[in-house]
């Protein structure tokens, strides 16, 4: 699926922390088009994760408009399947009872086409350097290896939009490169990729870098 993207217009999200309201997003405007890699930077607590949660439909904005474009136009984010909107959360979310290969293949299995997706899953795992860990359970691997499995899982079905929260946080430089190669390749194949990251390596590979500060989004002003 190519040509899909996501557009956010004046998104506002406020939480209650005790009796005090905390504004996580104070009018965020964002557009990510298919084929580009957009990096989102900002200090902890600046609202990056909240924005990703809104984009994938796990939370609703207090105000503002969030819409998907292209083939996904008119769809609400919580109705989008894995081939339309894939995620790499910071918590990774691998299924503890499944070996890494089964975790990577799970989106296809739940669609009923595990057999067809098997070779691609193998290629993706090899591509990110975990091909030899196919039979290991998540707890038998390092956090970095788990993170690579989570990225491979996100890429399995050629998603239209991919949201990744700190996808290289646990990687050494070499593996980070391989992960970013895979993400950029997906973008070049038409996927709209939005990364929340602190990793300079990832920022260098992004087509655009946006900075988040105090719930507002703007161009990055300093490295």
């Amino acid at each position: 699926m190519t040509g899909a993207g996501v557009v956010a217009d004046s998104l506002v999200k406020t939480y209650a922390r005790g009796a005090r309201p905390v504004t996580a997003l104070a009018g965020v405007d964002l557009a990510v088009a298919g084929g580009e890699v957009v990096a989102l930077v900002g200090p902890s607590g600046s609202g990056k994760s909240t924005l990703l949660a809104l984009l994938c439909g796990w939370e609703s904005p207090d105000s503002g408009v969030l819409s998907y474009t292209g083939p996904l136009a008119g769809r609400r984010p919580e109705t989008l399947g894995w081939s339309e909107l894939a995620l790499v959360p910071q918590a990774l979310g691998l299924v503890a009872d499944l070996p890494l290969a089964d975790n990577v293949l799970l989106p296809a299995r739940l669609r009923g086409d595990a057999a067809a997706a098997g070779p691609r899953a193998g290629d993706l795992m090899a591509g990110v350097g975990i091909g030899h860990l196919a039979g290991r359970y998540p707890h038998e691997t390092s956090l970095g290896e788990q993170q690579r499995a989570a990225v491979a899982r996100a890429l399995l079905l050629h998603p239209a939009v991919l949201l990744a929260d700190e996808p290289t946080a646990h990687q050494d430089r070499g593996h980070a490169d391989r992960l970013l190669d895979a993400l950029v390749a997906a973008a070049r194949a038409g996927t709209a990729v939005l990364l929340a990251t602190h990793d300079e390596q990832a920022l260098d590979r992004a087509d655009r870098v946006l900075a988040m500060r105090d719930g507002r989004l703007g161009p990055r002003t300093s490295p």
């Binding site: 994760s49 939370e59 299924v95 503890a96 989106p107 739940l110």
Partner: protein, 888 residues
């Protein structure tokens, strides 16, 4: 951070309140300590309950008076004893009871008199109105209202004696005439129907020996005269020279606890010892109600026999419950992980953290101990043998509850501390079996079971001590060890097959695929779950089957011995008619013999010959399909078949088919054994039994020595049967009742031992269910992020639920099947040896309690299904954004 001021810091000083932030951990603490307290407190309560029930069960089939306090003295009244002295002798016991604050009921009985030589003779001499002595002596009874409890033939309100109708006829006496009793002229105040011709009812229960003669069908007891009033009885007592005075204090035997009964026994002994007779009379005999004494002593014996198995089972249950408490301690560490990790990171060691766990769980544990103790009390009262408990047992149960509180708190805190020391684990879902679990320690259990079995082969499975059957502890230990060992071994083998199952599931639908992968990822949890289901199912199946089999065997032994619900024995021949057919069947019992088989010692073998009415016998006689290969009806029909070379067709047990040289007494009756059975009803001795059609049996002369005895067998009440027997020409000499054959209370220990073992199995089931919930809860928490992502990938709620059901119900079904298999194997090995009475037929019967088995299986599957629903609901409660943020 030093331990000194540590306890004054908020995490410890506010610990009880902080526990409220993890309500699930609080609930786990309450429930698990409650299970522990229930397991420990139930033992003394159960034993007390069993003792009371054993007492009540012994008293129930006896007359109501068996449970009353009673003192009695027989006094000799020398000739010329003044009436005032007689009155003082009669009143001696009542004044003793009055001093104890008890109102007693009096009975005066004259069963002997001074003979012409000054000796004591049985009964008193009665002369008819003409002064002619009657050949049959009499006894005389008075107690309040006695004449209101007979069927009056003719009566008056005058003072005097009431004669039984047959005796009045023999004496030619009518109301208003005067007869002489023990030399004292007295008016005939009434005539009543002989008690043996009626269903006399409970009022006469304790006096049956005065008008029935159970010892012999031929010697009638002395006629029973009734005094219309106490004064008449006293006058006649002076004439007879003897009187027995009994003072009874009624008690409700059905509600007596063993402790109360013991107090009654002690009190009546004290009352008997305190009786002082006036000068001038002699004490011939004194005593008290020793039936109550015996019942109390026997109840103690039954309880003593139960104590070993019950304590062993309670300890086993307590250890299992302690394992659940340990799981709750671990659960607390999980639920309070954030704070625990923080404190551990700041250098707080396992000890202070265990102390914190103890402080937080103290109140829940206290509540749990109280609830567990109350549950034990309610369970024993509601489901135990009796709800009449001794205060001492209740106090002991309270102490057990306190012990459970201390042990539970210590265990939970210890495990929480160890868990902290081991580090905050992310979970056990994918954990491989640890080294301890990998060791084949179940082989030790199986070896121990084999040892028990070998010992059991050389010892009696059921030991009879003072007439009370007690289950050998090995019979309890063997199945527990064997079933536990075999279940663990089977689970180990089953988990070895999980990788192959996982490969098979690769091509299955998502629900099956996920279910199998969850099991394969946690083989230790899967194996534990399998054992947790199989163990209670197996123990329940074993105990329920043996209990049902023992009960059925006991009933069969009674049924075979009596022949039917009850047998009325007549001293005259009963001719069957429509009346007897309506209530049962009539038969004649003969002493017979057959030629002994070649090589057997002696020329002839004694047999019991039952000449039966082929039209009614099969419909009334007790029968179990295990007695023969054919129904009783078919066997009886064979009696009506053609004679073989003039030989009468008979059905026999203990004789081979073919010709039989049968004799009834000395009367030859050539017979052909046309059918055989392993057991036939009416077998009261070890001799073989032969059934023959009464209407085809040749006349057996009285002089043949066959000792014919007519019986009416009935499954209905005694009253109509007695009337039918009398109307058919019979005269009741005695009734054979189930209670006469076996004292059921003597076998209660067997039933209750298995009953308590069943309770352990239910407890194991509860522990398993609690453990399952803790497992599911813990796993759900650990796997919630993965679940959220799987949902995002397209895992539907339906598929998730189906996968949970397939996993949990699948394991429960496998566990149930494994448990049933193990139970069947244990029963097959043991049941033939569980003969509670080797002397009486039949040998142990196998009775499978299908309803209980189905209920057990249903309960196991239901719990698993509910756990699956709970797991899905717990997963559905997760808010994806919050979970992912929290986890991150």
């Amino acid at each position: 951070m030093s331990p000194g001021p540590l306890w004054r810091l908020a995490p410890w000083s506010r610990a009880p309140r902080l526990a409220l932030s993890a309500p699930a951990a609080v609930l786990a603490g309450v429930v698990t300590v409650a299970v522990l307290a229930c397991a420990l407190a139930s033992a003394p309560l159960f034993l007390s309950s069993a003792r009371s029930a054993a007492l009540q069960a012994q008293l129930a089939p006896q007359c109501a008076e068996a449970g009353w306090q009673r003192t009695a003295v027989t006094v000799r009244l020398p000739a010329g004893t003044a009436p005032g002295t007689v009155a003082a002798a009669v009143d001696a016991q009542r004044s003793t009871w009055e001093r104890l604050g008890r109102d007693s009921r009096r009975a005066l009985l004259i069963t002997s008199s001074v003979g012409s030589g000054g000796n004591a003779q049985a009964g008193v001499l009665v002369r008819d109105p003409a002064g002619v002595p009657l050949t049959q002596p009499a006894t005389l009874l008075w107690q309040a209202g006695v004449t209101r409890h007979v069927q009056v033939v003719d009566g008056s309100t005058a003072a005097g004696v009431w004669l039984p109708a047959s005796y009045a006829e023999a004496a030619g006496a009518a109301v208003g005439d005067r007869v002489t009793v023990a030399g004292v002229p007295v008016a005939v105040a009434g005539v009543y129907t002989d008690l043996f011709d009626t269903d006399a009812g409970p009022y006469w229960c304790d006096h049956r020996s005065l008008y029935l003669n159970p010892g012999s069908a031929n010697t009638p007891p002395p006629a029973l005269l009734l005094a219309s009033d106490e004064q008449t009885a006293r006058v006649l007592a002076r004439g007879a020279g003897f009187v027995t005075v009994a003072e009874s204090v009624p008690a409700a035997a059905a509600d007596l606890s063993a402790g109360e009964a013991r107090e009654l026994v002690d009190q009546q002994r004290a009352a008997a010892a305190a009786v002082r007779l006036p000068d001038g009379v002699g004490l011939s005999w004194s005593g008290w109600n020793d039936r109550l004494d015996d019942a109390v002593a026997r109840a103690g014996t039954i309880e003593a026999g139960l104590r070993g198995p019950v304590v062993a089972v309670a300890v086993a249950g307590g250890l299992l419950a302690l394992a659940l408490v340990a799981a709750a301690g671990s659960f607390w560490a999980d639920r309070r992980a954030a704070e625990v990790r923080l404190l551990a990171a700041r250098g707080v060691g396992p000890g202070p953290l265990a102390g914190k766990a103890a402080l937080e769980l103290a109140l829940p544990a206290l509540l749990g101990a109280g609830a567990g103790g109350a549950a034990a009390r309610l369970l024993v009262a509601g489901l135990g043998p009796a709800d009449d408990l001794d205060p001492a047992a209740v106090r002991l149960a309270g102490a057990a509850g306190v012990g459970a509180l201390a042990a539970g708190l210590l265990t939970a805190a210890l495990v929480a501390g160890l868990r902290v020391r081991a580090g905050a684990e992310r979970g056990t879902a994918g954990a491989r079996p640890r080294r301890a679990a990998a060791a084949p320690w179940e082989l030790a259990l199986l070896l121990a079971a084999a040892g028990c079995w070998l010992l059991l082969r050389t010892r009696d499975p059921v030991v009879v001590d003072a007439g009370v059957a007690q289950v050998n502890g090995l019979l309890v230990a063997f199945p527990l060890l064997a079933v536990a060992g075999a279940a663990v071994l089977a689970a180990r083998l089953a988990t070895r097959a999980l990788p192959a199952l996982r490969r098979w599931a690769a091509g299955r639908r998502p629900a099956g695929y996920l279910a199998v992968h969850r099991l394969a990822a946690a083989p230790l949890a899967a194996g534990t779950l399998l054992v947790a289901v199989a163990l209670p199912v197996a123990v329940l199946g074993y105990t329920a089957t043996l209990t049902a089999g023992s009960q059925a065997t006991l009933e069969a032994k009674v049924g075979v011995q009596v022949g039917a619900g009850r047998a009325l024995v007549s001293i005259r021949q009963v001719v069957p008619d429509a009346g007897t057919d309506a209530v049962g069947t009539v038969l004649d019992r003969y002493d017979g013999s057959v030629a002994a088989p070649a090589g057997a010692p002696g020329a002839r073998t004694d047999v019991q010959v039952l000449a039966v009415d082929t039209g009614t016998f099969a419909g009334t006689a007790f029968w179990d399909d295990g007695f023969a290969d054919a129904p009783l009806g078919d066997l009886v029909s064979a009696l009506a078949g053609p004679a073989t070379d003039g030989r009468l067709p008979v059905v026999a047990t203990g004789l081979p088919p073919g010709p039989a040289d049968l004799r009834l007494g000395s009367r030859p009756v050539p017979a052909e054994v046309v059918a055989t059975a392993r057991v036939l009803p009416g077998r009261r001795t070890v001799d073989p039994v032969v059934l023959v059609a009464a209407d085809r049996l040749p006349e057996v002369p009285a002089g043949a020595g066959a000792d014919r005895q007519s019986e009416l067998w009935t499954d209905g009440p005694a009253g109509p049967a007695v009337e039918a027997l009398t109307a058919a020409g019979g005269r009741l000499s005695r009734t054979v009742e189930p209670a006469d054959v076996l004292t059921t209370a003597d076998f209660l220990g067997v039933t209750w031992t298995f009953g308590y073992l069943s309770a352990l199995a239910v407890l194991v089931g509860v522990v398993a269910a609690g453990g399952l919930l803790l497992h599911v809860e813990g796993r759900t928490r650990l796997g919630v992020v993965g679940h959220v992502m799987a949902r995002r990938m397209g895992l539907s709620r339906g598929t998730h639920l189906r996968s949970l059901v397939a996993e949990l119900v699948g394991v429960a079904a496998a566990g149930t099947a494994l448990g049933a298999l193990l139970a069947a194997a244990a029963v097959a090995v043991v049941y033939r040896r569980l003969d509670v009475d080797l002397l009486r037929a039949p040998t142990p019967l196998l009775e499978v309690p299908w309803a209980a088995a189905a209920a057990t299986a249903g309960a196991a599957l239901l719990v698993a299904g509910l756990a699956a629903l709970y797991a899905r609901a717990a997963a559905d409660r997760a808010h994806p954004a919050a979970v992912l943020r929290e986890d991150a």
